[in-house]
């Protein structure tokens, strides 16, 4: 049994403590924006925020939560896709297949929470999500546009 606060709502779920947060969010809470891509924290499609910082939820055991943390998923990032990152993504038409984009957007939004004006080197170090369609060139432009919009 675990209690978590997700997108501002308290949820109690009956799962084993070692269940990855990703699967709790997807299968118990029922929010499917965060995706499964690798299960070993390599690709970043599962990225969510815990207290505003990006976390790869596929390797984060739900039992490690105290219940007080603020968990944010792509569904709770903003009202009406109004977060600067989402607005930049829409303006530059970034997603292709889009499967990695919830994780990509959450990774970028999380980076900007800590570092509102990242350099290219910061971006290189912080944004390590995989996108097989290859949106990476536009993602870099999108980050800069999001900074301008913030």
């Amino acid at each position: 049994m675990a209690t978590l606060k997700i997108n501002g709502e308290k949820k109690t779920v009956d799962v084993a403590d070692d269940t990855p947060l990703l699967w709790v969010i997807r299968e118990q809470v029922g929010l499917t924006g965060a995706k499964y891509g690798c299960g070993i924290a390599q690709c970043g499609t599962c990225t969510i925020h815990i207290d505003g910082s990006p976390v790869r939820s596929c390797v984060y055991p739900v039992g490690a939560l105290s219940g007080e943390e603020e968990i944010t998923t792509i569904e709770g990032l903003s009202e009406n896709a109004s977060h600067p990152v989402q607005e930049a993504w829409a303006e530059l038409d970034i997603p292709q297949c889009g499967y990695c984009q919830p994780g990509m957007i959450m990774a970028v939004a999380g980076m900007l929470n800590d570092n509102p004006n990242p350099t290219d080197e910061d971006i290189d170090a912080e944004i390590t999500n995989i996108c097989r369609c290859g949106t990476l060139a536009r993602v870099r432009k999108g980050i800069k546009l999001a900074v301008d919009k913030s």
Partner: protein, 748 residues
């Protein structure tokens, strides 16, 4: 069943004549009638369709039916642009829907091919899609003209409005849609001249972005009970999930498994061994549980004993590939002149051997399908590149007549050629048959996805070239040694044993019109391109760009080697052989010029030009290699001439993305087998380019008109050769063994 589908899927229409059906305009524009009723679930309206391609609601919403699959490549938006332009529709009111493969079957394939591959989405359907839209427009105008009792010829259309010029009267498409839907289709229509296009050629935003920004886009992996209930007439009250383990070793089967060991674990409903969809025996075990995590956890704990299989190793297979490089026995793909004479009289002979390892598609979304079997009906929710092949697979696996099967297509989380194969569809159906009445969602782990691919085949290329005393190339022999995709997947497409698709980008012009989009654009006097087929027991597949990728490395890295051996500029050296293809020369020069080729600015550049999937593409890469041999790909200028450019900003996105896919393979991509087991099983060992390695990409779109070329694949081929040639410019070293991975570029 799936064979012709897979064939046309890639556009390799070799030997079967399966060039698509020759349904005339009348069939594709037949009015709704009973067919519209079958579409009732697709369109939220009681108004009949105008025709198969277009439905218009009273509120003017234009719903365009899209048969091809959207997997990120933008074909959904591009096809909608084709229809909207011919229809003179208001773009802001356009939406799309996938008609199901079952509906297509019931309506005698009115939407024709569903296969989405070979960069065919737009170029392979633009004619009948535009004709269908033009017919719908004629019916809307006719309906308005009849109401006004004026000749249709006095009316015009624009922005979803019909206007009668003389009286100035106007009406909306929505107002006349119902009347138009009752009219007979026109006997013939004329589509617009490209000079009249307004929506085609415009950099429209994609139609499918909004939900992707908020986590609302539903992928196959996300399917839940509510998604199933939207489509099915059945009334399941829950959805179960399944995870699967397939034999780690090629060809192995299940000897035994201890189901009792996991049957008591939380959520577990059933433990099942599954038949191999493509072979003998049972090659997989799956657990069905309340949640996927429970299923996968139980599967991890399940003791499975495998038996048999093939001790295949990529390392040992090198010897077979090397044998093929020098074998006297090879299939000829192209050639002419006096090659022996050219080598006998050569002032200099250059030789190089390159390799291409197995690649996995590695779609971000692992393979999955949700299936519901109710005894007399079987339905699936499936991300597929080939809806019709998936439908056939459902029928085959369930044993039900195809009329009692249905496929609900879901946007794909990546396809790249992998999702044309129906293996995961058959598995999902087999699992659903264990749980009649309850939908079962099968989702593979990343490890299953990585190990059980349809791999980009391994080949080697050995190229020998002759130069005369003036540095002119007088002869070239390109020998490809390695695996044939068609021999494994579509053997009936071989012609007297030859897989002509192996020669993609190297084929002669004017011989076979079905392969005209894959021909060599260089003119060589004395040359030979041949293939020694060496087939390993690894199942190959169509991997974005397919054989064009390795052929571009063999041809274009070697052209660079020849130019340097001749002491000539690699651009000038190439242009000397492109005199018969002004379009190929144009893209090459455009990329070189924009990049600053020839400038004495200390930058290290490499070129590549290819023709494939009916489009001309070129790239000029700029790289830096530091003293320790570390590579930085700084900038790439890419030029593409696809004939007509339907959506320039989406073409740009495809070109940029092609460098991520192509350069990921060049830098890291390799599946190796030891004792029949794939060694790279996740992204930690099969890496993909991250943003830090991504070069700046500048795309030059230069549509010369008059033809329809592909966009999604051709640029992949120029990615690796342009960078490899730039690495040589920087280091004087040739990388001929891929992937680069941890090779020191100062010491290769």
């Amino acid at each position: 069943m799936a064979d012709t589908g897979m064939l046309s899927r890639r556009g390799f229409i070799v030997g079967t004549g399966a060039t698509g059906l020759t349904i005339g305009i009348l069939a594709s524009c037949a009015p709704g009638g009973s067919g519209a009723d079958q579409d009732a679930t697709a369109d939220p309206s009681s108004i009949d369709e105008i025709n198969a391609w277009v439905h218009i609601d009273t509120d003017d919403t234009v719903t365009v039916r899209i048969a091809r699959s959207e997997m990120g490549q933008g074909t959904l938006t591009g096809l909608a642009q084709l229809v909207a332009d011919e229809l003179d529709a208001d773009w802001d009111k356009v939406t799309t829907v996938y008609p199901t493969p079952g509906e297509n079957l019931a309506r005698e394939r009115v939407w024709r091919s569903y296969s989405t591959g070979g960069s065919q989405g737009i170029r392979g359907s633009q004619d009948y899609v535009r004709e269908g839209a033009a017919a719908a427009k004629a019916m809307l105008i006719e309906a308005a003209a009849s109401a006004w009792e004026v000749p249709a010829s006095e009316c015009s259309s624009e922005n979803s409005i019909v206007t009668h010029g003389q009286s100035g009267r106007t009406t909306t498409y929505g107002a006349v849609a119902e009347a138009a839907s009752q009219l007979a289709p026109p006997l013939e229509v004329t589509v617009k001249d490209p000079s009249e296009w307004k929506i085609i050629g415009a950099a429209k935003k994609r139609l499918d972005t909004a939900d992707k920004l908020i986590g609302k886009q539903v992928y196959g992996a996300d399917i839940g009970l509510e998604d199933v209930l939207k489509d099915t007439d059945a009334t399941p009250d829950k959805l179960l999930s399944a995870s699967i383990r397939q034999s780690p070793k090629i060809g192995a089967t299940v000897a035994s498994f201890d189901a009792a060991a996991v049957e008591g674990m939380p959520g577990v409903q059933k433990v099942v061994a599954l038949n191999n969809p493509f072979g003998e025996g049972q090659n997989a075990v799956a657990v069905i549980a309340d949640t996927w995590w429970q299923a996968n956890t139980a599967l991890d704990a399940l003791p499975i004993v495998w038996e048999g299989g093939v001790d295949f190793s990529t390392e040992a297979f090198e010897a077979e590939l090397d044998d093929g490089l020098t074998s006297d026995d090879a299939f000829v793909g192209n050639g002419g002149g006096d090659l022996a004479g050219a080598f006998a009289n050569a002032a200099q002979i250059v030789e190089a051997t390159y390799n291409m390892p197995f690649q996995n598609h590695a779609c971000m979304e692992p393979m999955n399908t949700t299936a519901l079997f109710t005894g007399d009906r079987c339905e699936i929710w499936c991300p597929t590149q080939n809806g019709e092949a998936a439908l056939a697979a459902v029928s085959e696996a369930s044993g039900l007549p195809i009329e009692d099967c249905e496929v609900y297509k879901i946007h794909l989380g990546g396809g790249f050629g992998r999702r044309g194969a129906p293996d995961y569809v058959q598995q999902a159906v087999m699992l659903a048959m264990e749980m009649p009445g309850t939908p079962v969602k099968l989702l593979w782990t990343r490890e299953e996805d990585m190990k059980h691919g349809f791999f980009h085949p391994t080949t080697k290329g050995r190229v020998r070239g002759a130069l005369d005393a003036d540095g002119n190339m007088t002869g070239m022999h390109l020998r490809i040694s390695g695996q044939s995709i068609l021999a494994a997947l579509i053997p009936q497409a071989l012609q007297d044993g030859v897989d002509y698709a192996t020669f993609q980008g190297l084929l002669p012009s004017g011989v076979d019109e079905r392969l005209e989009d894959q021909t060599l654009k260089y003119s060589f006097d004395n040359f030979l391109v041949d293939h020694a087929m060496r087939n390993p027991p690894v199942r190959p597949g169509f991997w974005r760009g397919v054989n064009l990728n390795q052929n571009a490395i063999y041809l274009e890295c070697f052209m660079d080697e020849m130019a340097h051996a001749a002491g000539r500029d690699p651009l000038e050296f190439r242009l000397a052989h492109l005199q018969d293809s002004p379009q190929a020369a144009a893209v090459l020069e455009a990329a070189a010029d924009r990049s600053g080729w020839g400038q004495d600015d200390g930058k290290h550049r490499g070129l590549c030009v290819m023709y494939g999937f009916g489009a001309y593409v070129a790239a000029c890469a700029e790289v830096t290699v530091d003293d320790d041999g570390a590579l930085s790909i700084d900038r790439i200028v890419a030029a593409t001439d696809p004939g007509h450019a339907v959506n320039p900003q989406q073409i740009e996105a495809q070109v940029e993305g092609s460098f991520v896919y192509g350069l990921s393979a060049m830098l890291y991509g390799e599946i190796t087998f030891v004792d029949g087991v794939a060694q790279e099983q996740n992204f930690d060992t099969f890496d993909s380019m991250r943003i830090a390695a991504m070069p700046e990409v500048e795309t030059i779109i230069m549509p010369s008109g008059g033809f329809w070329g592909g966009v999604g694949e051709p640029t992949i081929a120029v990615a690796a050769p342009s960078v490899l040639n730039a690495i040589y410019a920087a280091t004087g070293k040739r990388v001929r063994q891929l992937p680069i991975k941890d090779q020191n570029l100062r010491d290769v």
